[in-house]
């Protein structure tokens, strides 16, 4: 039954931006609901029966049980079908797949979450998990977005800009396209909100590199710059985690699509990842 999916009902559909919708789901079978355990950074394969399948990160946290959430950007055929679905509709879900972030190992440390665009989706799972569990020294969220309208989970981000400090959560936002709303945010939260790219948010911040982990997710171009920033600050490659995307069909190491690397090191992004450390990137060509 490797490729069989389980029925999940859409409890709620929320429009996050003009391209992204947030789907809240629950398995129809209570038994499966109870058994469904996942880690931040893992993903599921969504099955719209008779139309196809596609991988999506879990953007909710396992600390909140009874439902799970997927943030889906409309980019093509399958994601368009998904966007047409309404509350009460059923989709198939298989998973969770992938390794996820080592949340337990990082307990007691400072976490720097660096998100670019849709990269916010898997990192939101980490963010909530860390806030809920209260087991982390300090949490930074550096979020780079194109424009105000593109900010994913905007309410949550603004809430944390306002009240995050009380929870040891330090949120910073960089935007590229100027707009009245951005200028308003910048006025209220300067210097934590600024015009620029996500690496600009590192300015003026000092971390205890011995006790800090960085978790990165964003578009392919982002990794190089963010990693350079972190390495300049002497963060060890083993403390830099990133979650990657590749074309995926099976999600379990069979279809071959997500294979990266060369003759000395071949990795499957679906089962060896999608979370990798920078050590992996150094020994596996083509990872980032």
């Amino acid at each position: 039954m490797t490729f069989q999916t389980h029925d999940a009902r859409i409890l709620e559909v929320k429009e996050l931006t003009s391209r992204e919708k947030l789907f809240t789901l629950r398995f129809v079978d209570p038994e499966i609901n109870r058994k469904f355990k996942y880690k931040p950074g893992q993903f599921v394969v969504v099955d719209i029966r008779g139309f196809g399948e596609f991988p999506i990160s879990l953007c909710s946290t396992p600390t909140r049980e009874g439902y799970f959430q997927l943030c889906v950007r409309r980019v093509g055929r399958m994601t368009k079908y998904m966007h047409n679905l309404k509350e009460g509709d059923i989709v198939g879900i298989r998973g969770p797949y992938g390794n996820g972030f080592p949340m337990e190992k990082m307990e007691g440390s400072t976490l720097i979450l660096v998100a670019g665009g849709l990269g916010m989706a898997p990192l939101r799972s980490v963010l909530w998990y860390a806030l809920d569990s209260g087991k982390y020294e300090k949490i930074y969220l550096f979020y780079g977005t194109k424009a105000y309208e593109d900010i994913l989970f905007r309410d949550e981000v603004i809430h944390l800009l306002k009240h995050g400090e009380d929870m040891n959560c330090h949120v910073k936002l960089a935007y590229e396209v100027e707009s009245p709303s951005c200028i308003y945010l910048e006025k209220g939260y300067s210097p934590r909100v600024c015009k620029g790219v996500v690496t600009d948010l590192f300015r003026g911040e000092n971390f205890d590199v011995e006790n800090t982990y960085a978790l990165i997710c964003g578009p392919p171009v982002m990794y190089k710059f963010v990693i350079k920033e972190l390495l300049d600050r002497k963060l060890s490659p083993g403390r830099i985690y990133m979650t990657l995307e590749r074309r995926m069909r099976c999600g379990v190491g069979k279809c071959g699509h997500c294979i990266v690397g060369t003759s000395t090191s071949i990795k499957y992004v679906c089962k060896d990842g999608p979370v990798f450390t920078y050590w992996d990137a150094l020994s596996t060509r083509g990872l980032i």
């Binding site: 399948e53 980019v75 279809c255």
Partner: protein, 334 residues
């Protein structure tokens, strides 16, 4: 291992007895191409074939394969398979299947593959290399497991190695067809193997191959081949260890759909494409090089991802030779 002798005069009866174990497929010659086909009679089989175009993987990972059937809104496993007997599989292809086993029987098990593997009997046959074969360099020229019976040619029949419980059962059921081996048979077997070992024309230098290739990431050799390669993906289709697949759903009628997978090739531009139109292997150079990296990856538990069958050479319309490419890359490093 148990060794017995099948005298030539019993060969046909032995072959016919296999039919009760399943549908028998064996190499058949059509024009200049060999392929595994359903056979009824010994006379149809091309016993001295070199290589089929599609390797026996086509029985387990089919070019187009139904996985699930949509019935009343729910997926059901597509039908299982009938038992088959693959007669006349060469050693390199047996090794190829073992590499696929690693992937498809590894956790989580692929149910379709597993069912088909369990429902199949593999009967190996000895062969003589042609100008494309380089299995000897990879140690895949002899199979020690992965078959039920293996037939080695003798002047007056076959030396049969029994490689599995099923193989024992087949031999047991045909006890009257087999004889004990004589010293003469062993001598003939050794002579055949020696002659075979000396007949290889192509050799792959696998000394430090993985490392050498990795170091040669920017070798100009890749760039030269980028211009010769047509990007047709033939080499993927015919390779016994290539197994990338693409999945799609197809509607049969208004109520029934099937989920189908089919062979995909890393030479296709879409292979590395992800959301936003970003491509992780955008150029033919990236894709050409990737195939060599994938084939030359050494898995400590399964060896290289190439068994030296020579198919990619024989069926490449641009006449690109696997070993030659690797040799040139190596030379470029020195």
């Amino acid at each position: 291992m148990r060794y017995v002798k099948l005298p030539q005069e019993n060969f046909e009866e032995f072959f016919n007895s296999l039919k009760k174990w399943g549908i028998v497929y064996a190499p058949v010659k059509k024009e200049n191409i060999y392929s595994f086909q359903k056979v009824q009679d010994v006379s149809e089989i091309a016993l001295d074939y070199t290589r089929t175009m599609l390797p026996p993987k086509k029985f387990f990972v089919r070019p187009k394969d139904e996985m699930l059937k949509l019935k009343e809104g729910h997926w059901e496993e597509a039908n299982g398979t009938e038992p088959i007997v693959l007669f006349g599989v060469h050693s390199c292809d047996i090794h190829g299947l073992e590499i696929l086993d690693k992937v498809y029987l590894g956790d989580p098990v692929d149910p379709y593959y597993k069912k088909r593997r369990e429902n199949s009997i593999i009967i190996g046959i000895s062969c003589m290399p042609d100008e494309y074969c380089f299995c000897k360099s990879l140690g895949t020229n002899f199979a020690m497991h992965g078959f039920d019976l293996f037939l080695h040619e003798l002047p007056d029949g076959w030396l049969v190695r029994v490689g599995s419980v099923k193989g024992h059962e087949i031999a047991w059921g045909n006890e009257e067809l087999f004889e004990e081996l004589t010293e003469e048979d062993m001598k003939n077997f050794r002579e055949f193997e020696e002659k075979r070992a000396n007949s290889f024309q192509k050799h792959l230098n696998k000394e430090g191959l993985e490392d050498m290739l990795d170091l040669a990431y920017n070798s100009p050799v890749w760039k030269r081949y980028e211009r010769i390669c047509l990007g047709c993906g033939n080499c993927n289709m015919v390779c016994p260890t290539c197994r990338c697949y693409e999945v799609c759903d197809l509607w049969m009628n208004a109520y029934e759909a099937v989920r189908v997978r089919r062979y995909d090739s890393c030479f296709m531009e879409s292979h590395g494409l992800v959301a936003g139109g970003h491509n992780f292997r955008p150029t033919r150079l990236d894709r050409f090089r990737h195939r060599y990296y994938c084939k030359s990856y050494f898995d400590p538990s399964a060896g290289f991802n190439c068994v030296g069958c020579g198919r990619c050479d024989e069926f490449c319309p641009a006449k690109i030779e696997h070993v030659k490419v690797l040799d040139e890359v190596r030379e470029g490093l020195q």
